[in-house]
């Protein structure tokens, strides 16, 4: 797979705060990448730097093999749908779509009109009078209709109801299948998009904790559930990532994947095996409740 985006030792510093610290990764051509992390982890900063909205402090970024900053060729192939994107106050939805047509060589005006109707966007209403959900929907329409080879969505669903969110995921998948491109999607609704993601990047405190295939990631940990003695027998000698107990019932998360013999053992002991959801994985890796040391330990366990 070719790397569309190549980031090396990227650091972005605001005064004395490292919003991004020594981040290195590649984004692969024609894949949907999830950018996960808690509030303030650095997701938006990373997207703004990748799209040359903001400047780097140190490190290198290449998009389509070139530094994106003030690069006309590269910028025309990037669309950034920001969570708090500002629109000219007097612009209506119609104006925003017209701007997309003028600025993106890959823009599909018919598709944009179609999407706008699907999301029930009032074409003649000024952006300043749109609700939060409508603003999000407009951003989604722009991001999809631009059909840019590299498209970034930064929490694009704010204020959207469940129906509209599902519509976004469906349209993204359908259009992505017909017009493959590289997508970077930051989100907190991890379980909702888990099936969409092919790659996952997890950042916390400006550091990249994780960069892996979604599939491989799901196999990294397994939850074993059943009667306490049976669970204890199964997990003995294993590294426990997480343990929950309810009376005589226990649920323990251990590093995966398990081999067939281990599956057999679990079956004989009457234990239930379940993959850990992406969301749980992220919560475990970035949770703060046990203090920094415990977190580091847990994330090491899950991630290595």
């Amino acid at each position: 797979m070719t790397a569309v985006v190549r980031v090396r030792n990227l650091t972005k510093r605001y005064r004395d705060l490292d919003a991004l610290h020594d981040v290195s990764f590649d984004l692969h051509e024609g894949a949907i990448h999830g950018l996960l992390g808690r509030n303030g982890a650095g997701k938006t900063t990373l997207m703004r730097v990748l799209t040359a909205q903001a400047l780097t402090t140190s490190g290198t970024i290449e998009v389509f093999g070139e530094p994106p900053f003030e690069n006309e060729r590269v910028q025309q192939r990037i669309c950034f749908v920001g969570e708090s994107q500002r629109y000219p106050a007097s612009f209506t939805v119609h104006h925003v779509l017209e701007a997309g047509r003028l600025l993106y060589p890959t823009w599909d005006a018919g598709y944009a009109a179609h999407l706008a109707a699907d999301f029930r966007l009032p074409l003649r209403r000024p952006a300043s009078k749109l609700s939060r959900g409508m603003l999000s929907a407009m951003g989604i329409v722009v991001g999809l209709a631009a059909r840019t080879p590299f498209t970034l969505f930064d929490e694009p669903y704010l204020g959207l109801d469940a129906v509209a969110r599902q519509m976004f995921y469906d349209r993204l998948l359908t259009d992505y299948a017909e017009h493959p491109r590289t997508v970077l999607l930051s989100t907190h609704l991890i379980d909702e998009v888990a099936d969409l993601l092919e790659r996952v990047l997890l950042i916390d405190n400006g550091r990249l904790l994780l960069d892996d295939d979604a599939e491989a990631l799901r196999a990294r940990a397994v939850t074993v559930a059943g009667p306490l003695p049976a669970v204890d027998e199964f997990v003995v000698g294993r590294h426990e990532l997480h343990r929950e107990r309810l009376a005589t019932f226990a649920r323990v998360t251990v590093p995966g994947p398990l081999d067939p013999a281990e599956h057999d053992l679990a079956g004989r002991l009457g234990l239930e095996l379940a993959p850990v959801s992406l969301q749980q994985l992220v919560v475990r890796a970035t949770g703060r409740e046990d203090g920094a040391a415990a977190t580091a330990d847990t994330s090491e366990g899950v991630l290595r």
Partner: protein
């Protein structure tokens, strides 16, 4: 270049706003002046009925160009436009607008003269201080101030966008120090009379087409230097 034109077209998508605000405010100012002039009798007029109402349209453009940065810059950058192209497009917009609006005012001035000041001796578009002999110089005196306010508006927008309130406070503080120091130097060296006569010696064209152009270019250059590394 095509890309620059496309970005200018994006800035002009809401062209009704550009036309409506500028000419609406000017029309309002004109209407008020027309009513006042109509109410005045010949005896009230000492020489000429002088009004500065024309300045209103230049103020609207000043504000509009500050808005070009604060409103369009973040939008266009998210839509894959570079700072360089965006600024060039804004400059192109300023130039085009100055030519069109300046020419329109020049034409209105010709009508004003032909109708004897709209039949009530109102010199709204051609007040005495901007009157020139040649048509070209007269036209320049209308066009260049548009470039000045557009340039100042862009620079003000960039200052706001990049440094916000602190930026303005620094500019005010530095201005006080610089102009205070210059004033002190002028007083100590007793050069106020010289400065006064130099100012009086400047012709209208010299100020409106010459100095205004110099300031406009300086504002545009400073604005670009600051925008070049501004976050969207």
């Amino acid at each position: 270049m095509n890309r620059v034109v496309d970005v200018t077209r994006v800035q002009l998508l809401e062209w009704r706003g550009w036309l409506g605000w500028a000419w609406g405010v000017l029309a309002l100012s004109f209407a008020v002046n027309l009513v006042i002039s109509g109410a005045l009798t010949r005896a009230d007029l000492a020489g000429e009925n002088l009004t500065g109402g024309l300045v209103s349209i230049y103020f609207v453009i000043l504000i509009a160009f500050a808005g070009v940065i604060t409103q369009f810059f973040p939008f266009c950058l998210a839509m894959g436009v570079t700072r360089r192209v965006f600024y060039a497009a804004s400059g192109l917009l300023a130039l085009g607008l100055a030519l069109v609006y300046g020419t329109a005012i020049y034409v209105l001035r010709i009508i004003e003269d032909a109708t004897g000041g709209w039949w009530v001796e109102l010199h709204f578009f051609g007040p005495r201080i901007v009157r020139q002999d040649g048509p070209f110089l007269q036209w320049l005196v209308y066009v260049v101030p548009f470039l000045l306010v557009a340039g100042l508006g862009l620079a003000a927008g960039v200052l706001t966008k990049r440094w916000g309130t602190n930026g303005w406070l620094v500019v005010v503080a530095v201005s006080i120090v610089v102009f205070g120091a210059l004033g002190a130097i002028a007083t100590i060296t007793d050069s106020w009379p010289g400065i006064g006569s130099w100012l009086l010696d400047q012709s209208t064209v010299g100020i409106f087409a010459g100095w205004f152009a110099v300031i406009a270019v300086a504002a545009l250059v400073l604005g670009y230097l600051a925008l070049r590394r501004a976050p969207a």
